[in-house]
Symmetry: C2
Subunit: 335 residues, 2 copies
């Protein structure tokens, strides 16, 4: 089936671009040096593809549902919930499975106690500058001690420099990563363990000390990350149909606010400025020659932010040279 | 079950507030004078509730999937696809059902021909000032003629003054509605038919000529519409759990960009300024007394925009006085 025969809106991954991205990352960070982040694509089928081609077997998840889905799919070699949870009952159910190794981030007495109750291994999550989760570096050893006293294994530390990953100035990005890693090193010296987990797509090649980088956006990419000097290429689009044209003034595409994560701004359309998005529509303006696409024609749109875009869709349609080659259910949505 | 026992993030509708909104609207626009818009809540169970309490049997849909779901659910008395479609095959399948009356908006030769091919009744969709779908008013009679020549019934006209509905100045809103309705009246004079469909939540009481108003947001409401002088109250929230606290600095809630439509801005939290949202988190700042919620506590958040928020969730949990009374699947998501 040709891509233009698909009902729209439809989420499309260009598998040749995806292959390029997998290969570029695997060359820089092979095997366990990368922990692909499932939150960016929320599909066990796609995770299997990434594992197969990229050679990575350890995955990172943001929700318990992602952990559960990956375990059920046979991808549970080493799953990190890179997030805090207070849900001891669900976590315990997952830990009791014998087909998955589950590690959870902790940053407080309460989250340590949840991990202990569930019997989950932990990483001490350290605040390295992003105002979000993570304990103060000086508090890391106390939390590690609490976890060990409770009988669970402390595998090491984690620190996400999310305030840095989008900085387009590579020199500034490099310096900021070094500052963050100084904080994480201080915590690791006190905590110990084999694992130092850090980073993201924007800083994947700026880590010489962390044992693994957590990255997900590199696989599909978006217009926000494309402003950085990264070797990854746009692999994700939402295809739409032109449902209305006001001649000489605008055209209306049938993909809107319910097809795109909008926090990084509007999607983009080649040649046509985006006027505005509404629930099921995007109005685009004429190109520089005054031209508009014809009613019924198909138009690819590029999301500004991958992760919340994927979370709106049921299926990732894999395409090569314009033809559908696979369909990956987005089966890890929700909570 | 108490609301605080629910796993988070979870979409919650306060059914007492919903009842108030249904009643306030039904008093102003009873029965067929209102065509509730399914796109705002995407749930056949909730549509059934609105039909039962509000007395409205005619619904408005934005997608073919919404039409299909409503027909299957036995809510097909009079379904309007208030949107253009080029998918004659799917539309024809729906029209052939004998349990639904389906009418579709058309604004071009191409969309008229699709309706004719599918055998669907039509409304002529007229551009009344919103730069989106709709033909020019003076093109309406030609399109109506084309539809009638093709053997389908032209039920009337539709015009959505979406550029007006959010204007907080009631006087300006009233004047702008009148201008839009002048355009729609011109088209209706040429087209004929019993139906004049217009409006939205922000202009529901400013229509004295349209035979029906299309409104959906009034049911659940959001922070954007709450700035208008409307008699509807906030009925929708997303409940979250505090998963991390940096004492004196911030708290982190477990609902973020994948739980909220973000085009109208951040969700709000009572008492706590929202610092920023990321995929699965919202970081909030201390309240005016420097206080932060405790780790593990539950916090309701109010979405800035209802429709794309609901589209991220699988279930609407109906709550009365803090207790769960029903669960409505959000079964009309996707396309």
């Amino acid at each position: 089936m040709h891509i233009e025969e698909l009902a729209t809106p439809v989420l499309v991954v260009d598998i040749d671009a995806l292959d390029h991205n997998i290969d570029a990352m695997a060359a820089a960070r092979p095997g366990p040096a990368l922990r692909p982040h499932v939150k960016a694509f929320k599909s066990t089928e796609m995770a299997r593809y990434v594992a197969g081609r990229g050679g990575h077997r350890n995955f990172c998840c943001a929700t318990l549902r992602e952990i559960r889905g990956m375990a059920f799919a046979g991808l549970g070699d080493d799953l990190l919930l890179a997030n805090e949870t207070l849900d001891a009952a669900v976590l315990a159910t997952l830990v009791r499975r014998d087909d998955a190794r589950i590690t959870v981030a902790v940053d407080s007495d309460e989250t340590v106690d949840v991990a202990v109750e569930a019997g989950a291994d932990v990483l001490i999550d350290v605040d390295v500058g992003l105002p979000r989760c993570g304990c103060r570096p000086d508090d890391a050893s106390r939390l590690a001690e609490r976890a060990r006293s409770g009988g669970v294994s402390v595998r090491g530390v984690m620190g996400y420099e999310g305030h840095v990953v989008g900085n387009p100035d590579r020199e500034a990005r490099t310096a900021a990563v070094a500052e963050s890693m100084d904080l994480l090193r201080r915590a690791h010296d006190a905590v110990g363990g084999d694992v130092v987990s850090a980073g993201g797509t924007g800083t994947y090649d700026l880590h010489d000390w962390a044992t693994e980088v957590q990255a997900g956006s590199y696989l599909l990419m978006d217009t926000a990350y494309s402003e950085l000097d990264l070797p990854f290429t746009q692999a994700l689009s939402v295809w739409s149909t032109v449902v209305s044209v006001s001649p000489g003034r605008w055209a209306v595409l049938d993909a809107g606010l319910k097809a795109f994560g909008m926090d990084h701004g509007n999607p983009t359309v080649d040649g046509h400025p985006v006027f505005f998005c509404s629930d099921e529509h995007t109005t685009v303006l004429p190109d520089s020659n005054g031209g508009l696409p014809a009613i019924g024609s198909k138009v690819p749109m590029t999301p500004a932010h991958v992760d919340p875009t994927v979370a709106y869709h049921e299926t990732l349609v894999a395409v090569s040279a314009g033809n559908v080659v696979d369909r990956w259910p987005v089966d890890l949505r929700g909570w």
